[in-house]
Symmetry: C2
Subunit: 514 residues, 2 copies
């Protein structure tokens, strides 16, 4: 066994946070923009987000939800109205106060005092209020219900401490918003969105998630119920990767969304909202990345196969390029995971080995190098990103199939990688969930200093509310822990609440979190 | 011949501007949001924009340009720097000055004076400066060139007079930005983007366009060359539907975008930018709309076929719904214009006739109604939106094919409608271009009060610059006319300049414009 020299400088086990930043930079996914809290999403990072958008949008359309677009700016008054109904609405928002720049007389520009807005505008942090306005105009009778909309948009929440993809002042997301005639229908829609996220996360992003209800203290302000999918990162922390909120009639009351029922009576609508964001890209990195960079699940890879001709700036290059171009066409004619294979013939100048490591760090699922000897043998050198190293030799584990066989097996290889990443992540998660802790002492010990990546603990609790819940949150906070969610499809509680000593009513996940 | 009762109240020939607004409202495409100058794009309007995005993006990707995402906010300093280089940069922009709201103590919210930004942020009106910053970081040597990026984004330009889709304060667009080693390569990219727009407009949007160079006075501020595609609306006015700019080294100088060439010398890059926006949706309406509403070209229709079961709230409805569902599946299995057919089985409550007219106004290419008699005959009632009326009877021109035949012929019908709309628009445009006017008197007479929709005039000119050009612009302004563009692929000039009397050097279009 020879030592492997990994492609990154930082290892996950040494410094997970530094490793995360290195992946983003080494895979050329994003960078700080110089504008406070805003990042530039570079082509590889954005390409992954585009794939997420495409696949999630397909699911949204298949569910019969319609996309629309609402204004970026929300009049300040909307928030005032909202604030009456919703305590604790975050107020860190970007506020537009002027609509013109003028010269300051010294070569610079300043906001024109003559162009001050009568009512400031807020850059949307989320669109409940502006979409609620539209719903109140669009809904008259039960015939107009359900009204089910989705928007792909940028939103801004002024963040003091930012981290690329995980927490940025501007981020990209989709926000679903619907209005229904009854609580039952609205709750069903809430669960529809949750299942949409679960299936997208597991089937497309290869991210195993726990779907469940958030405890009261973690609800979206104004929501009656908040549901989430939670994913475990490789440092054992939880990432909330998508949320779906049943809002009851709270927002309908604030925005005056009512309808005439079949009997002619006016009723308030029940509304729902649900969102998933570019945060998911961060979750992808922290789930599938390794010490060589990112590994992109094939369903989300902008390019699933990259062909690298080993050019030598000689006349023979032409034949090699033609050989590779034929391979590209053969692969492009194949399908994988229900779509045509996305293949790149990377003919940019530069050494093939340098380019190979670039694509390893970016996490392209399959890299195919072709040198003149490969060509003479009618073969190629194929490297799977999920099986990068030969442990015996400490070298990249190239296979040498014929060109035809390589092309024909791409579909199977990609499906295998997609499935393998999910299985690996699921096994890791299950290995890092503890379910037999039932005292606070054991909980504290489990999350003690000696355990670097202590994972999640599923405990039983009595689901206290109000002050009782506040106490629990305080206890956990002292251990730097949070309540994540109450999982669905688990055995009923049969023990004692770890926090109160009362009979438990359900199970809840406790973890450190992003 | 019986009189036809059209589906709209306003006819194009009576009041084109009012007709335009009525189509938008009757086709349920968009509405005023209540936020100054910003519209809500409703599902049908947004669905058309999504189709435009998808098809244009496919072309952009096929051209090898990569998508990325840059911040919404641009520091004020970027504009100051730009202003030094570029006179006449529009200064009507949304300016963010605060990052928090606080209570005003009277139940309202105000921008928190403690949270005033040191440097105000501008909501991007276009992204040359922020993308230029990134390019200056990303480009070191000739190996990094060309750098070819595209962004799908919202942008804001504070507009005093707005009109839905055509001019709104916030709008959606794509903006391509590239950096090149030489003027030749940059100019080739400029033309690449122009051709991309031309082919998208004609092949996907069925919008015949004239591609050509804008005269100096119509250039993007700071550009060396600006090229456009211009489409003729049904009132004879021109709509600039996409632009591509060769920026020389002007922006590279301002943003410090340079590279080391093969000889090791530092050189400035040549940059290019190009954009197409939701304005295109306005162009679609004014090109393909008629007195019954919109007609969406099948390539851009969110639903190409709508099936309307004539339900009667009786037990027999079940059989009818099953019959229609089978039809839906048969049609969904067909392909048209290179994609699976997009078909909707509209089972919402409501009378079939009411729903029919809704879909006529929205412009769904094919509407298929099915009543119990149709079902008994194994048939359907099929209506083509491009051949809506039977001129003899003054009634909708339903055909009665068998269900199987209807499903099998959808592909041909959709291709035929797509082509027919393009041919119709091209013939109308050619009929409304005059090429034999060579005096200002004749030009003034042609655009005189008696001609309601006078179309375009192609004149010959000597291409004056500076003050000479200003004079021409003034002359035209008095007739409410503008110079549109200098068309490509036309015979060389052989006459006298209509403005200066000097020998002409090229041909240029003169028209009223949006």
């Amino acid at each position: 066994m020879s030592a492997i020299r990994h492609a990154l400088n930082t290892k996950r086990e040494d410094d997970f946070a530094a490793w995360y930043q290195e992946v983003i930079s080494a895979a050329d996914m994003a960078e700080e923009s110089g504008v406070r809290g805003c990042m530039v999403i570079k082509p590889w990072g954005y390409g992954i987000w585009e794939r997420m958008q495409r696949l999630l949008d397909d699911r949204i359309k298949a569910a019969g939800v319609q996309n629309a677009y609402f204004p970026l700016f929300i009049p300040l008054g909307n928030f005032t109205r909202e604030a009456e109904h919703v305590d604790g609405f975050a107020k860190e928002m970007a506020v537009v106060t002027h609509h013109r720049l003028i010269s300051d007389g010294k070569g610079g520009l300043i906001p024109d005092p003559e162009a001050k807005l009568e009512e400031p505008l807020v850059v949307r942090p989320t669109s409940e209020t502006i979409i609620g306005d539209a719903m109140s105009r669009w809904i008259q009778s039960w015939r107009d219900l359900p009204l089910r909309l989705n928007q792909w948009a940028n939103v801004v929440r002024w963040e003091m401490r930012t981290r690329m993809f995980l927490r940025t002042s501007e981020f990209l997301w989709q926000e679903g918003h619907s209005a229904h005639a009854s609580a039952e229908e609205a709750k069903a829609e809430t669960m529809m969105a949750l299942e949409l996220y679960r299936s997208f996360a597991e089937e497309d992003a290869a991210l195993p998630v726990i779907a469940g209800e958030k405890p009261e203290n973690e609800r979206f302000p104004g929501a009656v119920e908040t549901w989430s999918i939670e994913a475990m990162m490789q440092d054992g922390k939880a990432l909330q990767a998508g949320t779906s909120h049943y809002l009851g009639t709270n927002f309908a009351q604030a925005a005056d969304i009512h309808y005439q029922n079949r009997e002619g009576r006016e009723e308030l609508c029940h509304t729902v909202s649900w969102g998933m964001s570019t945060r998911m890209v961060g979750g992808l990195i922290m789930t599938h990345g390794d010490d060589d960079g990112l590994r992109v699940p094939p369903a989300l890879a902008p390019f699933q196969v990259v062909i690298l001709p080993m050019l030598r700036d000689k006349p023979e290059d032409d034949a090699l390029l033609a050989y590779c171009e034929e391979l590209r066409a053969m692969i492009a004619g194949q399908g994988a995971l229900g779509e045509p294979v996305r293949v790149l013939h990377d003919t940019r100048p530069g050494k093939a080995a340098t380019k190979r490591w670039d694509w390893v760090r970016k996490g392209a699922p399959v890299i195919i190098e072709v040198g003149s000897r490969d060509m003479e043998n009618g073969a190629v050198s194929l490297l799977r990103r999920d099986a990068l190293w030969n442990a015996e030799t400490g070298k990249p584990a190239f296979q040498s199939p014929t060109r035809e066989l390589a092309a024909q097996s791409i579909s199977t290889i990609l499906a295998d990688i997609q499935n393998g990443l999910l299985v690996e992540a699921r096994e890791r998660r299950e290995a890092n969930i503890v379910r037999d802790i039932d005292t606070m002492e054991d909980l504290a010990a489990h999350f003690g200093e000696d355990r670097k990546y202590p994972g999640w603990v599923e405990v039983q609790w009595s689901k206290p509310t109000g002050e009782g819940l506040e106490k629990v949150v305080e206890q956990l906070k002292a251990l730097r822990l949070t309540l994540r969610n109450v999982p669905m499809h688990v055995p009923p509680a049969d023990g004692t609440c770890i926090f109160t000593g009362e009979p438990a009513v359900e199970r809840v996940f406790v973890a450190r979190a992003y």
